[in-house]
Amino acid sequence: MSFTSIGFICFLAATVVLYYVFPKKHQWKLLLAASLAFYFIAGEWYLPYILFTIISSYIVARLMRKNSEREKLYIEQNRDSLDKDARKAYKAAEKKKRFRILILGLVLNFGILAVLKYTGFTVNNINSIIGIFSDNVSLPLPKLLLPMGISFYTFQTMGYLIDVYRERTQAETNPFRLALFVSFFPQLVQGPISRHGDLSEQLFCGHSAKWENIAPGMIRVAWGFFKKLVIADTVMIAIKSIMSSPERYSGAYVVFLILAYSAQIYADFTGGIDITIGIGEMLGIRIKENFDHPFASTSTKEYWRRWHITMGTWFQDYIFYPLSICKPMQKLSKWSRAKMGPALGKRIPVYLATIVTWFVTGLWHGASWNFIVWGLLNCLVILVSQELQPLYTKFHNRFPKLNDSYAYTLFCRTRTFLLMGLIRVLDCYRDVPLTFKSVGTVFYDFSSWREFFAGGVFDLGVGPREYIVVALAIVTVCIVSKFQRAEGISLRHKIAERPSLAFLCLSVLVVVIIIFGSYGIGFDASGFIYNQF
């Protein structure tokens, strides 16, 4: 069931009404039933996969918890007989046991994700290698089901297991409560990747129907629909035209693609997250923000702190940091300091951890070389800018007033936006060589500009009137974003203070979405882009 379907809107309305009709202590049970129903409707064969994740994670977390309790009890009971070293040794032994249990949970769940998501990619690569030596031999490509949002719920649940192992959160004693944490339906489509500590309490404590929650929630949901249907899905038509005929559309069209795809993915992903957070708000549940005005970033590093925040922090907390401080890395650090000197030597393990993290980030986004190269290019930009930091510092010391200048900030923002847009184009084309070839045409195919401005832009399936509507919608999004940033307030909460204004705002959004949205027959309305990850 797509977020943007009529079925989902009816489902959501029924869930919200029933949620507040239910006694508070049973509300979470309704949410669990709704979440499983949502997932079942999305694909009846998806359920076994998510159920496996729930059950296996429940068992693993419980085992770790029991082990932890046993350890505490043992130490408590033998406080007098155990000296410090013996206690330490016992604790280390128990921790090792818990670690093994954790690894079992991670291997099982990441294993499923790897098999379902990456088998095809692996087989294709093996076949390419075999193809070098023989034309007739190739491995058959298995047809595997990829459950909706599997990457999101797997990462969220594995984060929970690691947190239980690190004793940062309590293991759920009730499997149904864990089931809700894993399958909470607004998050299933495209995240955000929540932490158990942030979400669980809110899921299970009851909520009363409050205008202060429902109104801003509804406005945010409508705002998400506006971004998705009026901007993202309209722009997508032109983008698909360019992507499907790379030979026909080069030069100017590729520049247009870079800009249009930036607008589309932003509107699509943030729109989806707006719907998710808005639904949560309507239910009285605060879901973590996943974006913080990413296009206002002045550097790539900053951009990645503002874009898909929950994914970034997940990789940081569960991959980058553990990797940076693991024993082999410490050995490498020692070695590199000795061989390359302290300045460069200390950076080597950090850079290596960064490269691995970005490689995995790329792979998480999709089973293709495009995403791997995309991840590594992001990494390259970050590392290069890190290496050039002394140069920047020198430059800024030479021109100290530059940092306060709006023009310079604007330059940095534009540079970051274009750089990210350029790298993001790897999402669009079918393979890496084609992407580089297409982007290359920007630098020599100047004749395409004439064709583009002579009406070529209108031959991409989007007419002049639609471009005007999209442009106005983008301007509206920019104004709202700018206002929120400048004032540091939540506009929808401000609007909700006056019910008349809230209803006016909702009414306008509903009418605009219904008329100008790209949906229904005649539109190949897309699912959310991040849905596939």
């Binding site: 009529i6 949205g517 949906y519 229904g520």
Partner: protein
């Protein structure tokens, strides 16, 4: 408490305003079918007729072949028979059935004539054609059933009740016509007959067309679903005291060929169920000349062919089904006098315009 009341009032007022606004937008955005394709306007026109309390002795149901082959004003002029055609483009048999069911709620025709070409379809076909038939129907449980039976996979039932969900994207293609006919539309047919005065002769012989058609891949068996609806149609007519006649209008094109196997199945069905079936395809008594009586190379009859068929069929209705002339009824006559005048006026205008 005061806040809750305030919020409820705002919510209700907003809902009403949004509903009215969307309804007005929907009226503008819906296709009007006042220029091509006119076929989309046919089904809705019927209500203008029955709302004035007009009854008909004969009801024609079926696809394009009926609304291009029978001329109700001529049937009146020649035989004093009142008739209406409830047909639209690629109208599927279940749509004909539900239209018939709906028609019996408004009136009691003595004879129902069903053109059997649509018997070849057992599944929903094209959304565009569904729309032309179903959008014109008034909301009712019958329409609901018709929608459920007709929807293709990509369609959504909500868009039939809230057409703005289907036609919202027309905002960029709006013309003056959309505003002009927002509330009221012109009548484009003559009791369901859509006039075509053009002549585009059939270029190949009947035998050549047949040879071409036979070489195409086709299912020699008419689908079971179609027969189920034919059964239902038969029962419905029986319950309402109407005689059901099956016909196949004259056509002569390999594009929509009426195969012998299909004909035999319909003939067999008619015989088994005590129905009359007339295949007019090779009926020389009608006098169809495929050089002058078709506007699209034998696919459909033009007005000249339709007049010939109407006269022939009118004779049958009088001689075989005992339909009596209504011309002695002053009220009915005055209505049909106007209709006949309008018919000839349009014919003359269209002939002059060619």
């Amino acid at each position: 408490m005061r806040k809750e009341i305030k919020i409820t009032i705002f919510a209700v007022v907003s809902l009403i305003i949004v509903a009215v606004l969307l309804h007005l937008c929907s009226l503008v955005l819906r296709p009007k079918y006042m220029s091509q394709p006119l076929e989309g306007a046919l089904i809705a026109e019927y209500y203008g007729e029955v709302d004035k309390g007009r009854q008909h002795q004969v009801l024609f149901v079926g696809d394009c072949e009926v609304y291009e082959s029978f001329v109700p004003p001529l049937l009146w002029e020649e035989y004093g028979i009142t008739s209406y055609i409830r047909g639209s483009a690629q109208q599927l048999i279940w749509q004909s059935y539900y239209l018939l069911e709906e028609t019996f709620r408004y009136e009691s025709p003595k004879v129902v004539v069903f053109n059997v070409l649509s018997m070849k379809y057992g599944e929903p076909q094209k959304e565009e054609y569904n729309r032309m038939t179903l959008d014109g129907m008034r909301n009712s449980p019958v329409k609901h059933q018709a929608i459920l039976a007709s929807m293709t996979k990509e369609e959504n039932i909500a868009s039939y009740y809230f057409p703005i969900l289907r036609y919202h994207s027309r905002w960029k293609d709006l013309t003056a016509e959309d505003f002009k006919f927002m509330f009221k539309r012109d009548t484009v047919s003559h009791n369901g007959y859509l006039m075509q005065t053009g002549i585009r002769p059939m270029e190949k012989s009947f035998a050549e067309q047949e040879a071409e058609a036979i070489n195409k891949i086709y299912d020699p068996d008419l689908p079971a679903t179609a027969f189920e609806y034919l059964d239902k149609m038969k029962e419905l007519c029986k319950q309402n005291g109407a005689e059901l006649i099956l016909i196949k209008t004259p056509t002569n094109s390999s594009t929509y060929w009426w195969y012998d196997e299909w004909d035999a199945q319909i003939a067999g069905y008619a015989e088994q169920n005590g129905l009359d079936y007339y295949n007019f395809i090779e009926n020389e008594a009608i006098g169809i000349d495929w050089q002058t009586d078709t506007y699209d190379r034998g696919l459909h009859l033009n007005v000249y062919g339709a007049e010939k068929l109407t006269k022939h069929f009118g004779e049958l209705l009088v001689s075989e089904y005992g339909l009596e002339s209504q011309q002695s009824d002053v009220g009915v006559s005055s209505v049909w006098k106007t209709k006949t005048e309008q018919y000839y006026k349009q014919k003359e205008e269209m002939e002059r315009g060619q």
